[in-house]
Symmetry: C2
Subunit: 145 residues, 2 copies
């Protein structure tokens, strides 16, 4: 297995991305008290009055199955309200409950604290560069093959 030095570094990038994710998941949750995905769902709900699961799924770009399960659990916890569209029974509309609307504020404060910690030594310039690079990577993965 003969690999050039520059390839080794490329590999490090991909491995680093992977490890960052693995380390982030538990830290994020223990810090904020909620998972990243679930908070993202709540955040989207926060921005609107009501939205269909399908539309929400498109926004967060997660598998339908996962969306269904998250929303059911959030409903069980009383953070979310779900109802069928009377006009078209295929659609389920979702909205934040009062309690959900209150709780999400605290979650997001903690998320902000977490993000500040993770990026604390990055200049404004660097953050811009990084975001641009990550966006390109994401696009490359999407169009791959």
């Amino acid at each position: 297995m003969l690999l050039s030095n520059s390839y080794i570094d490329d590999e490090k990038i991909i491995n680093r991305l992977y490890e960052i994710h693995r380390r982030t998941v538990p830290k994020f949750e223990s810090c904020t008290g909620i998972s990243q995905t679930r908070l993202e769902l709540l955040h989207e709900l926060y921005e609107v009055e009501e939205i269909s699961q399908r539309a929400l799924q498109k926004k967060v770009n997660i598998d339908h199955a996962a969306v269904t399960r998250h929303l059911k659990q959030l409903e069980d916890k009383g953070m979310v309200i779900r109802r069928k569209d009377p006009k078209d029974q295929r659609f389920t509309y979702v909205s934040l409950s009062e309690e959900g609307r209150l709780k999400i504020i605290h979650y997001r404060e903690e998320k902000e604290r977490f993000i500040s910690g993770v990026l604390h030594d990055f200049s404004e310039e660097e953050r811009k560069t990084l975001l641009g690079m990550l966006t390109r990577i994401q696009r490359n993965i999407e169009i791959f093959e």
Copy 2:
């Protein structure tokens, strides 16, 4: 919820990292035919004659439980050989089988193709910058709190 513009961007960085991971997992596996973690384990085994599970676990930095399960499955597939240390029965030593040694070469070629695709529009300079930034983020996550 009043958030400054720069914070919004920081949030995008973290969300992007998360989404990159989610999209990478299935693409990587369908492209290479093996999961990233499992290939990393095999790669470490490729570099040595034999190694204890414990030492291997420290190298890949994954939970013990996951390591045990991966190695058992790789053993079932005939890619890996495991044996107890006669001197100290607590240790299990792992090594690549001949078949494993052959197969890993193909896997790694596919991985290289995948990585090239993901980073194809990045200059040498950019890759260095990116790796540096990711390394800092990883460190920040580790020392957080």
